[in-house]
């Protein structure tokens, strides 16, 4: 039920009015709705990327596989990586940032709500753009190409981009990848980069400027700190990859030869530029999970986080060092010996701040009254698996050892232990932990634990044997191996493991859909938590906090509930339960007028224009290419101008507005007394 007053300023479109249903999602600028959009979109891409992985594993299950062609295999491992990195882990982390940042900081929304929506739509259209290569892309074999069959693989799977997520030039250049498929990856990554850049500026300003009273920097939850660090990593690394992608685009579209060695170009330059971005990027993937784990472990150990400032500064140190280690991805390239030694050393130093974090987490659990709930299990799984992945990572820092491991499955094992065992376990931990906050219901604990068990087992079954497959010399990115290599049995195990993971995801999806509708109603403060988002009703009201919170210490909410006894142990205050109920009651029933950011059509138009622009660049030689570019730019510019002319905020009034009141210049949209969400009244008071 909502009542919206017509705005004073006339705009091209009617002002968006829906607060429920399809159009409310299209026009929303509410950080929570945007988070949910991010979450579902990212999870859909996770399913797509997962199916791609299963197809790859079917092909590799036995020697001399014939399930996929070489071109299809190339495309699938490329899009698997691009999808999991850019379309799942990053946007899923962004879903958490969006949902939690304002709640953890005690704010009404992020600093720039509409830019937030723009980020989402650009991301969505970027993802669709990359996958549209299945329909529009072409992938002819290069002249003199060495793929068996040589000719064009015109099947849909054969026309997805296949240069690896790193798009190494000149392999991704016009000579070796003559079709348009690679263009979809190159320009798609550029689009996704724009989305990430916008949201990183937004998140940084939110964290610096939107903190509630008393929320000093060193009182912010670790998750907020990790978000800030991720945003800075993106802010400083994205422009580098943007230039590299522009150079590749001009190589492919406008005849330059930046990366063609034969014409004086520099293939190593691509590697340097790519990994200058690519290595900070891997911390972009892992730090959000580290933030989630740092929130979950103390809650379920019923202890404060051990060494809070050390964990925060270690996160900063990881990010800082992360800009100085990129060449360890290219130790097998032609780079000077001194540089190899230097980058080997700098890589090893990363283990120090990472180790600090691990020990702090262990010390957090130590002596705690541990509750082995699903989020806790996933967080513990994160710590264990990340240690394994981290240790194999240190072995790559030893240069001669790395020469043996480069481009083998040992690397694949390492990166999946840190990204699957690390990032994805952390994200699932967060999904279960904040499920009651999001839905107001509890997930099914038994199913959650089955999910964890299957995934933990399947994960080790899949990626564990890859270590020794790699050490036996099995090379990456190759679609067949012969029977006499003896690699068959372990590959079969790996394939079985991947299907165990897939099963565990099905369990999760069932748990999610079932619990969202039928789960038990979540109690107030279900986890006995420490952070501000648990002081408000679940699911979160549209206006977040009815009463603006004030913070006096780190983990303020927890300190309100707990006292120390003489031995320094936490003792729950007798009045704690009552206090929690009062807080949530007060936050659910605001007494003052609250203004919310007004919804807008323009973010989605801007995102769509961006996609048209990219199509125009790919097909700029066709007659309709230039018009597409012009239309795309016009859509972008006009939506930017358009949102300048619309009202920014709308008022939430607790008392509600009587729709029959002749005084109020309002109309009722979608009256629905059942769900009774907060009343929205649009005003233009300027």
């Amino acid at each position: 039920m909502a009542t919206i007053a017509p705005p004073r300023t006339p705009t091209v479109f009617k002002r968006p009015q829906s607060t429920t249903g399809f159009w409310s999602w299209i026009t929303t600028v509410d950080h929570k709705k945007i988070a949910i959009l991010y979450g579902y979109t990212a999870f859909s891409f996770f399913i797509i990327g997962g199916v791609e992985a299963l197809l790859l594993r079917i092909q590799l299950a036995g020697p001399d596989g014939t399930f996929l062609t070489a071109a299809q295999y190339n495309g699938l491992f490329t899009t698997h990586a691009v999808t999991m990195i850019f379309l799942f882990v990053m946007p899923m982390a962004s879903a958490f940032f969006n949902y939690l940042l304002p709640l953890m900081l005690g704010a009404r929304d992020v600093a720039f709500p509409r830019m937030n929506a723009v980020s989402y739509w650009i991301f969505l259209f970027g993802g669709i753009f990359i996958y549209s290569s299945i329909i529009f892309g072409t992938n002819p074999a290069p002249v003199g190409g060495n793929l068996p069959g040589g000719a064009l693989d015109a099947s849909p799977l054969g026309s997805i981009p296949g240069g690896g997520w790193f798009l190494y030039a000149p392999n991704s250049g016009p000579q070796f990848s003559p079709g348009t498929s690679i263009d979809y990856a190159v320009l798609g990554l550029q689009i996704l980069g724009v989305a990430s850049l916008i949201s990183s500026v937004n998140f940084i300003v939110t964290i610096f400027n939107m903190r509630t009273k008393g929320m000093r920097l060193l009182r912010m939850p670790v998750f907020v700190w990790m978000t800030m660090i991720v945003a800075f990593l993106l802010l400083f690394s994205l422009p580098i990859i943007a230039i590299a992608l522009f150079m590749l685009t001009t190589d492919r579209q406008f005849g330059t030869v930046f990366f063609e060695a034969a014409s004086g170009g520099d293939p190593i330059l691509w590697q340097n530029l790519f990994w200058l971005f690519g290595h900070p990027e891997v911390y972009v993937l892992i730090l959000p999970a580290m933030g989630i784990v740092s929130e979950v472990l103390p809650v379920f150990s019923r202890k404060p986080l051990f060494g809070y400032p050390a964990i925060v500064f270690a996160g900063g140190a990881i990010a800082f060092l992360g800009f100085g280690v990129w060449a360890h991805h290219m130790l097998a390239s032609d780079i000077p010996t001194v540089a190899q030694a230097a980058f080997g050393l700098s890589t090893m130093t990363i283990a120090i701040p990472t180790g600090i974090k691990i020990f702090n987490w262990i010390a957090t659990i130590w002596g705690g009254r541990i509750r082995l709930t699903t989020p806790m299990l996933f967080s513990l799984g994160f710590v264990a698996l990340f240690v394994i992945g981290g240790l194999s990572g240190v072995t790559h820092a030893v240069v001669p050892s790395d020469w043996q491991q480069t481009d083998t499955y040992y690397i694949v094992a390492h990166l999946h232990y840190v990204l699957f065992g690390g990032a994805i376990f952390g994200l699932f931990s967060g999904i279960y932990y904040w499920f009651p906050k999001l839905t107001g219901r509890m997930y099914n604990e038994r199913l959650g634990q089955i999910h964890f068990g299957l995934m933990f087992f399947g994960m080790n079954l899949t990626f564990g044997p890859m270590h020794w497959l790699g050490l036996q010399g099995m090379v990456r990115r190759t679609w067949v191996y012969s029977a006499d290599t003896g690699l068959g049995p372990w590959n079969l195990v790996v394939t079985i493991g991947s299907f165990v993971i897939a099963t565990s995801i099905l369990v999760f999806m069932f748990n999610w859909t079932w619990s969202k509708r039928k789960g038990e109603i979540a109690p107030n403060d279900p986890w006995d938590a420490r952070t501000l988002e648990w002081t408000i009703p679940s699911p979160t009201p549209e206006y977040n906090f009815g009463v603006k919170p004030t913070v006096t210490v780190l983990d303020d909410f927890w300190h309100q509930k707990y006292d120390e006894d003489d031995e320094g142990r936490a003792v729950r205050r007798p009045e704690a339960d009552e206090l929690v109920d009062q807080l949530i009651e007060a936050n659910g029933n605001p007494e003052t007028e609250i203004r919310l950011p007004a919804p807008s059509y323009f973010p989605i138009i801007a995102g769509f224009g961006m996609m048209l622009l990219a199509y125009g660049i790919i097909y700029h030689t066709r007659p309709w290419g230039i018009p597409l570019i012009v239309i795309g730019i016009l859509m972008l510019v006009s939506s930017l101008l358009g949102w300048g002319g619309e009202p920014v905020e709308e008022v939430h009034e607790d008392a509600g507005v009587d729709p029959t009141d002749p005084e109020s210049d309002t109309e009722v949209v979608n009256p629905d007394p059942e769900s009774a969400p907060p009343e929205l009244v649009g005003v233009d008071d300027r």
Partner: protein, 211 residues
Amino acid sequence: MTDIAHDDLDEAAGEHDSHGHHESTGVDNRKLGMWFFLSSEFLFFGTLITNYLIFKGRDFGPGSIYPVEFYDIPFTSISSFVLLMSSLTMVLAHAALARGDQNQTRTWLAATAMLGLVFVSGQFFEFTEFVLEGLKLSSNPAASAFYLLTGFHGIHVVVGVVLLLSLWGKSVRQPEGLSPEQGLNVELVGLYWHFVDIIWIVIFVVVYLIQ
């Protein structure tokens, strides 16, 4: 940019409990956002300049040509001077607005945009000359890197001119001139404009003067 403008425009207008509540750092959201955006832009141009330095002296085989051979230093010095002067007029526009002198604000905004346009026209002329003399985008990586670097700077100037002109348009349309809230927009565009100028100083010195 416009989005940012409005978020805080509204916030400055009233004391209500807004989503954009008080700024914890005391710096306006939009201004803070602009600073962080510009910090990212430094990396953008840093990469482009490095890229040019990597390729500028490479051997591209017999008969290879280099951007250096085509530079017209006196001409570029003048256009650089024009761009530098636009920073001065930008400051004057900002100062005039701070005094509440709407007429001068209007004038100096227009002057800044015009100087920016003169610079871009100069660059257009320069590119045309270079291409006619044989230095094309695809001649060799050094030429490509030169065009990519100076071209992206030119695009930044054009964006700045568009922003300046939209501010100028607003100040002409509104009889009372720019409101104090829109004044922050002048400051933001100013930040961006000075950044673009500073980058040009680096480009002019590193690319044109140090050969």
